[in-house]
């Protein structure tokens, strides 16, 4: 057969690629070790970051100054976190920092928000559900329809699986009136019914304008927030907080974060350094005094405390990642490896990662061993260079692919 050498090369290449993915993912699972970062929260009582860390069965509680606390002491310096425990023990103060507090007040002003980079890059089905924003009931009700919003707006009656022409035209007309340009770049909303109000959707139109669309008393409510005039919007995440102070978080293309205030559509910038939207995880635990912002980057975790009113930074703290077992192992085993997915995207796409030059030591070693021990009838020089470049995966591929006499 004429092409057997070409086919053999293809088999080796495909095997190498498969192993460059499979071996590191196995090793990474085997060497998995959590960073075991402490839980960090900014205390509205002692006004500094407080930490809770569990090692084995031992739990340590301390603040940034190094002061250690018992469990009940810890509860009391973090009333915004442990208000339910304090209320249960009858230890809930009447006021904190001069403001009257009750569990209800604390709850309605507290929120947890999470941003993951994969939100920016994930497949979307292309259908949305628009709830009636104020149904007047404790839980919202499903409208019985869904809509598509790419090139036009079209409501689909779910039971009949047909387009609801009337409703579609109503919204189309209103969108046109408000200056909306199709096609939609993206839209973000939250149609869970486990809440008492719904703010519908925020959508970025073709011209970069940022629109708010909801349904009020069965009628479309559509506004251009004009936010698109002042910043270039990268992403929006909706968050329904009971105090209705803001609609959610806007991210611009520089990586700055804003809240979109309700109902004025005014942007308020968070006093944070720019984020890497495709790499950093953001967790915000907000309460009526301070927001604890955790930014998880590849290097470690950055903690920021923001003033709830001004959104200005009052404190920050940095925890570097310790080199974990995987980093150590991979920097000696694989100079490069392939992943099919990572936390920056929910699409499957092969990506090559480079670890450290130290791993080439291993490549050189196995390439040399191969060159010395290989039977002379194969093209030793070529294979040795191939192994030098591709490492363990290439070696295995060469060894398990039979050669020709």
């Amino acid at each position: 057969m004429k092409y057997k050498n070409i086919i053999r090369s293809c088999i080796i290449a495909a095997t190498t690629l498969a192993l460059l993915w499979a071996i590191p993912s196995l090793v990474s699972t085997a060497t998995y070790s959590s960073q075991n970062h402490p839980f960090v929260y900014f205390s509205s009582v002692v006004k500094q970051f407080c930490f809770r860390k569990t090692i084995g069965k031992q739990t340590q509680r301390y603040d940034a100054a190094g002061q250690e606390y018992t469990e009940s002491q810890f509860d009391s310096i973090m009333p915004m976190m442990y208000y339910r425990q304090l209320a249960l023990n009858g230890l809930m103060p009447d006021s904190i920092n001069g403001a009257a507090v009750t569990p209800q007040i604390i709850r309605s002003n507290s929120f947890i928000f999470r941003y993951r980079p994969s939100e920016m890059s994930q497949p979307h089905i292309g259908l949305y559900v628009l709830l009636e924003s104020m149904s007047g009931r404790a839980n919202l009700q499903s409208p019985g329809d869904a809509f598509r919003f790419k090139d036009k707006i079209e409501f689909i009656d779910i039971l009949a699986n047909t387009v609801d022409r009337e409703k579609s035209e109503l919204y189309e007309k209103e969108l046109n009136k408000r200056g909306y340009t199709f096609p939609t770049q993206w839209a973000f909303g939250d149609f869970s019914t486990q809440k008492s109000f719904d703010e519908g959707y925020f959508a970025l139109d073709a011209s970069g304008q940022f629109f708010h669309m909801k349904q009020v008393s069965g009628k479309p409510f559509i506004r251009n927030t004009k936010v698109g005039d002042s910043i270039s919007i990268a992403h929006f995440s909706m968050l329904n907080v009971s105090n209705k102070r803001f609609y959610g978080f806007v991210f611009d293309n520089q990586g700055y974060m804003y809240i979109l205030e309700s109902p004025s559509y005014k942007l308020r910038k968070l006093d944070l350094p720019p984020l890497s939207l495709h790499g950093d995880d953001v967790l915000i635990m907000g309460n009526m005094f301070y927001w604890t912002v955790t930014v998880t980057t590849e290097e470690g975790k950055k903690y920021f405390a923001l003033n709830n009113e001004t959104l200005q930074k009052v404190d920050e703290y940095l925890l570097d990642n310790k080199t974990n077992r995987w980093d150590k192992v991979s920097s000696w085993l694989f100079p490069a490896y392939i992943t099919l997915s990572d936390n920056s995207s929910r699409f499957v796409q092969p990506k090559v990662h480079f670890t450290a030059l130290t791993a080439f030591a291993l490549n050189i070693a196995i390439a040399l061993i191969f060159a010395i021990f290989a039977r002379k009838k194969v093209n030793v020089a070529f294979h040795a260079v191939y192994i030098l470049v591709t490492g363990v995966a290439g070696l295995i591929a060469v060894l398990i692919t039979p050669d020709f006499k």
């Binding site: 092409y3 293809c10 949305y128 869904a146 598509r148 929910r346 699409f347 398990i400 020709f404 006499k405």
Partner: protein, 221 residues
């Protein structure tokens, strides 16, 4: 070429028929299941779960295509390897590469036709009760699974035609790694970006079996 197809058809027709019945049964089951679910929970809840939680309607079909691929490879090539009947096939007055490509092309085409038909029936069926966005999401989620069937067929043939047992194990391991790339559980549509890589791999894998055949011809033991 007609004669090759004729031989492969005689050899595999019962199994191909069985595959057709299996796919038809599973598709029927999926439709019954989805219909019952609609009855039980109501269409609105189902739609909202699909839109909000990425629920799949075609999940049951996941492992059938790869199983079909492996089994067809075995049904087609195990008799050739038994008592080295492949010698008879390769001794026919046709170019050996052409002969093998013809045999592989037959199996590949049969699977492709079966998968396309199944996929088309599934999607048509779903489009009765679901918007085309939902149908497409289910198409995208099943695409890597159907492609997995083509991969297991080609790589299964490569393994089956390999004359040395030890080498067969290596081939099978490599095959498992390659096929596993299609089964990392992901959101519907996540594999859209993998499509070009998948097609390129598929094209390359088609010719792997020729290498096994060349080894067979050299009488490697």
């Amino acid at each position: 070429m007609n004669a090759i197809i004729y031989k492969e058809w005689i050899k595999t027709r019962r199994f191909v028929l069985l595959l057709g019945v299996l796919f038809a049964a599973l598709i029927t089951y999926i439709f019954l299941w989805s219909g019952q679910m609609m009855e039980a929970s109501g269409a609105v809840i189902i739609w909202e779960t699909i839109i909000g939680k990425d629920m799949r309607l075609v999940g049951y079909i996941k492992y059938l295509p790869p199983a079909a691929g492996i089994l067809l490879a075995i049904v087609q090539f195990a008799p050739e390897m038994q008592s080295k009947r492949l010698k008879l096939t390769l001794h026919l007055p046709v170019n050996e590469g052409k002969m093998m490509c013809g045999m592989l092309g037959y199996g590949f085409t049969v699977l492709l036709a079966l998968f396309s038909l199944s996929c088309a029936i599934l999607m048509l069926g779903l489009s009765v009760r679901y918007a085309h966005e939902i149908v497409m999401a289910n198409f995208w989620v099943s695409l890597p699974w159907f492609a997995g069937g083509l991969f297991t067929y080609l790589l299964g043939s490569w393994t089956c035609l390999e004359p040395v047992w030890k080498q067969r194990i290596f081939n099978a391991v490599t095959a498992a790694c390659l096929v596993a790339t299609l089964y990392t559980d992901q959101m519907s549509g996540a594999y859209a970006t993998y499509l070009p890589y998948m097609l390129a791999l598929l094209a390359v894998c088609f010719f792997f079996s020729l290498y096994s055949t060349a080894r067979f011809k050299d009488g490697v033991q």
